[in-house]
């Protein structure tokens, strides 16, 4: 196994990457290798798909499978090796179908080699030696670390794009240019690119594609469930039977709410599903009772203490403890061996489990937090915001967004939020917010100082807010009194970072550590071109931001 796709990857003097029999996330070697092989096959599908798209045709099922399959390989999504044996077989069938469609549509078509010609074996035992062909480490040995790292940047950005596009697709939104863009990137990777400029260009093209994908996801979420609005969310339990829904998928949460309507079972959100409470059509369910727990890395304690079933709808899953292994369910792309998977959106079994489990014995004193500051809400008060800046009441905006993680160094984000001066506005999104969103940050100019924009999936909203502010102030985004403090953990954050770069956003503070797949040479390019800066200390970074703005 060799994997360095997430922030917590093993780092040694020899470089970054998990290369033993188990990754830091708990993914074992066999599963990691099978995932690499699946990606290799997806590149093969992309080789044919991109040519099919060029002919004005498409295999929608293949495009959809590609998004889903890429999503299963994100950090903390699917650890079930058997699932990958099945997906590899499905990928081979899909490739054959797309190939046949391409050959039928283009007589005298190119004969494609590489991943397009790969034939997988059937069983796990036979597949294991085959995974060598897809090893990322092999690429580094042949083409050098810089090229390998840039290929990884493209692949990981692509994974993030696919995850966002899948979330939109399950709510009925697709766009031909997204499928074509994904196929193009896979075809590009299949061509074993080694030109540094071409690789950077592709990464930025993916960032641009991702902007459209996030816009599509925003339309999917708001189109299905309404426009987020400021909402006080209860963070303490209510006596009674209970279900906890974690991950990001609003459609699955909706499915659980429907399955438990009128049963007396309360549904709680966990982690990145907190923003669900601000959508009118979700909060209309009276049994969407509140938010429980915090960010993903605390799930072993929080799930063990939760007195009902748990549904994990996307990343981030950690090895389920014996205490709750029989009452945690996976859905969508998620999987763990021996954990029940709900693949058909039928959550009746979860409702049944909730009835059988004890639920909360007592109602705890009510505590709430305020969320729901999506772009419509913030732009609705744009005049107030602009006025507050022009009158000097608000000096600066900090967007502290992104993922949370287990490493103690992430206290930086708590410190940052606490130490940011009172005349600044804090905007946040992603699960990194759990480092500071339960604290009272006060109000400013009639607005809460902490504006919760939503999930990491709502990055589009944050970008639209920034663009609207730059319109209002008649300046570029980089000239706004705005600093982006991005905490990254997995590949969706890579996609968002590429989007920011593609939009020309400079001076992003990136942490808690820089990606292990970016070599010093590549990092230098990113620093030169985009001013990306690693975090230092909260105090120093706040001061630097305010000095730059002043």
């Amino acid at each position: 196994m060799f994997c360095y796709q997430c922030e917590q990857t093993m780092r040694t003097d020899a470089g970054g990457g998990c290369a033993s029999d188990k990754g830091v996330c708990g993914k074992d070697e066999v599963t990691a290798d099978l995932q690499d092989l699946l990606i290799y096959q997806l590149e093969g599908i992309g080789q044919y798909s991109t040519r099919l798209h060029a002919l004005g045709e498409a295999d929608a099922a293949a495009d959809s499978f590609t998004l889903y399959a890429l999503f299963t390989t994100l950090t903390n999504v699917n650890f079930n090796r058997q699932r990958f044996v099945d997906l590899i077989a499905e990928a081979a069938r899909t490739r054959d179908r797309v190939r046949d469609a391409y050959l039928a549509a283009a007589p005298g078509a190119e004969k494609l080699g590489g991943p397009a010609a790969f034939q997988p074996f059937q069983t796990l035992v036979e597949l294991q030696p085959q995974t060598k062909i897809a090893s990322l480490a092999a690429g580094a040995a042949t083409f050098g670390e810089d090229v390998a790292g840039l290929r990884a940047l493209v692949l990981y950005g692509l994974k993030g794009v696919a995850a966002y596009a899948h979330h939109a697709e399950v709510l009925g939104r697709t766009r031909p240019e997204v499928a074509a863009g994904v196929a193009h990137a896979l075809d590009f990777l299949a061509s074993e690119p080694s030109d540094i400029n071409a690789l950077l260009e592709e990464a930025l093209a993916l960032g641009k594609l991702n902007f459209g994908v996030m816009e599509m996801l925003d339309a999917a979420n708001t189109g299905s469930f309404g426009t987020p609005e400021p909402t006080n969310v209860r963070t303490t339990p209510i006596a009674g039977k209970a279900i906890l829904v974690s991950g990001h998928d609003l459609r699955d949460l909706h499915g659980v709410l429907e399955a438990t309507k009128g049963t007396g079972i309360n549904v709680y959100t966990h982690g990145e599903l907190l923003p669900a409470h601000s959508y009118p059509k979700l909060k209309a369910y009276p049994h969407l009772a509140g938010n429980y727990g915090s960010a993903w890395q605390n799930q072993q304690l929080e799930f063990a203490a939760f007195p009902g079933p748990i549904v994990m709808t996307s990343n981030c899953l950690i090895e389920p403890q014996p205490a709750y292994r029989n009452r945690i369910f996976t859905a969508g792309p998620v999987g763990w061996p021996g954990v029940r998977h709900i693949g058909d959106g039928n959550f009746a079994m979860v409702a049944q489990a909730a009835k059988a489990l004890p639920g909360f014995a007592e109602t705890a004193p009510e505590k709430t937090i305020l969320i729901g500051f999506g772009r419509d809400t913030v732009l609705g008060v744009a005049d107030t915001v602009v006025g507050a800046v022009k009158s000097g009441v608000v000096k600066h905006f900090f967007l502290i967004g992104g993922c949370d993680g287990a490493a103690p160094g992430r206290n930086y984000y708590t410190d940052f939020a606490e130490k940011a001066p009172q005349d600044t506005i804090l905007m946040t999104l992603g699960c990194g917010k759990f480092r500071f969103n339960m604290q009272d940050h006060g109000t400013i100019g009639g607005l809460p100082r902490l504006l919760d924009i939503g999930q990491c999936n709502d990055s589009y909203s944050a970008i639209r807010i920034a663009l609207a502010l730059s319109d209002a102030f008649q300046c570029g985004v980089n000239d706004l009194p705005l600093t982006l403090v991005v905490s990254w953990f997995e590949q969706k954050a890579v996609a968002v970072l590429l989007t920011l770069l593609a939009l020309g956003v400079r001076n992003v503070r990136l942490g808690p550590t820089l990606p292990a797949f970016l070599t010093p040479a590549v990092l230098n390019v990113l620093v030169d071109k985009f001013g990306i800066q690693p975090i230092t200390t909260a105090e120093a970074d706040i001061e630097a931001a305010l000095t730059r703005a002043a």
């Binding site: 830091v24 708990g26 058997q82 072993q300 014996p322 029989n326 009452r327 021996g338 103690p408």
Partner: protein
């Protein structure tokens, strides 16, 4: 004898004492005492198991140093922290958040007593509502429970044959032993509606679900109960790894019924089955001999080496372990003694 003592302090002020053997990490020692503290990578790189040692000396090795900026204050990663004598550890969580391995005691009511085949009774019980556990029958396929004969305090351990479920239903396959106390109660006094106390689930005879190898199950008589539960679990999860079941019996009449075989095959189409009979009648044309001999025959050269799950009487376990060792598979045997 423990070599040292670890005192775990929780955020809400609870003190938990845990014995620690020399060389064990705090995480291992706590798990050994039934306290499953959060952990992800187990190699000092993710930072999830961070805590602070407030007294005592310890060794920290092989971890990512940047994870512990407060190293001088006693900050540690529990997966890499080896006590050198007694230590006190401040945990960043409350006591009720620590998953504990406690074996629960519950009431259950008899729902069905049925002779399913020669000298084997299927006993179905329904768990009664419990404050902390509700009515769920939560166990890992392969585990057992202790059943107490009402009014006597006499307990016997039996493996669960069904699957974890939300209806509180637990099923056992019980071999009737002449002169056995539980057998006497079951065949003589037990009635539908009786309440008895059950303690469990317990036991480590469980599936290694992450194993990439084929699975071979070897069972005889009521040793089939935990294996049935495991096979039913694999069927429910649509596992597609190769599965071979070797079922040994003295006579054909002691083999599992055709209907049961058909049900297993319906859920696990890849299942291959060897019925091994020691003393068959003249009409028998299957394998003649012990289950261990059947295993020996199945481990032909060139076959992918399986994990071997075996449940049965001590003599059978010994024979299976011998066969496995001869094929170089001693480390692959997962056994439950009846």
């Amino acid at each position: 004898m423990p070599d040292s003592q670890i005192t775990l302090l929780t955020r809400d002020g609870a003190r938990i004492e845990v014995p620690c053997a020399s060389g064990d990490t705090v995480l291992d020692a706590a798990a050994g005492a039934g306290y499953h503290l959060p952990a992800m990578c187990h190699q000092g790189t993710c930072g999830l198991c961070h805590a602070r040692v407030t007294s005592g000396s310890y060794e920290m090795s092989g971890y990512t140093e940047s994870l512990l900026p407060g190293r001088d204050l006693g900050d540690v990663l529990l997966c890499r922290c080896t006590p050198e004598g007694n230590v006190t550890v401040q945990l960043p969580c409350r006591e009720d958040q620590i998953p504990r391995h406690q074996i629960p005691l519950r009431d259950a009511v008899v729902e069905r007593i049925e002779m399913v085949w020669e000298r084997a009774v299927c006993l179905s019980l329904r768990l009664q509502p419990h404050d902390e556990l509700g009515v769920a029958a939560d166990f890992a396929p392969g585990q057992y429970m202790e059943l107490a004969i009402p009014g006597t305090g006499i307990r016997r351990a039996y493996s669960l044959a069904n699957l974890p479920n939300w209806d509180g239903l637990i099923e056992f396959l019980i071999r009737i032993q002449p002169g056995g106390q539980f057998s006497a109660w079951l065949t003589g006094q037990a009635r539908v509606g009786d309440t008895l106390t059950v303690r469990g689930p317990a036991g480590r005879f469980v599936l290694d679900e992450a194993s990439p190898r084929p699975r071979c199950f070897v069972g005889g008589g009521c040793g089939l109960a935990p294996i049935l539960s495991m096979l039913r679990h694999l069927a429910e999860f649509q596992d597609s790894q190769p599965v071979h079941l070797i079922f040994g019996a003295n006579q054909e009449a002691e083999l599992l019924p055709e209907s049961e075989i058909a049900a297993l095959r319906a859920g696990l189409p890849q299942l291959t089955l060897t019925l091994a009979v020691m003393n068959p009648g003249p009409a028998w044309n299957g394998f003649v001999g012990t289950a261990a001999a059947a295993l020996d025959a199945s481990l032909a050269p060139g076959v992918t080496e399986p994990d071997i799950y075996v449940c049965g009487p001590p003599k059978m376990l010994l024979a299976v372990e011998e066969v496995a060792a001869r094929h170089g598979l001693a480390g692959r045997v997962i056994a439950e003694r009846l």
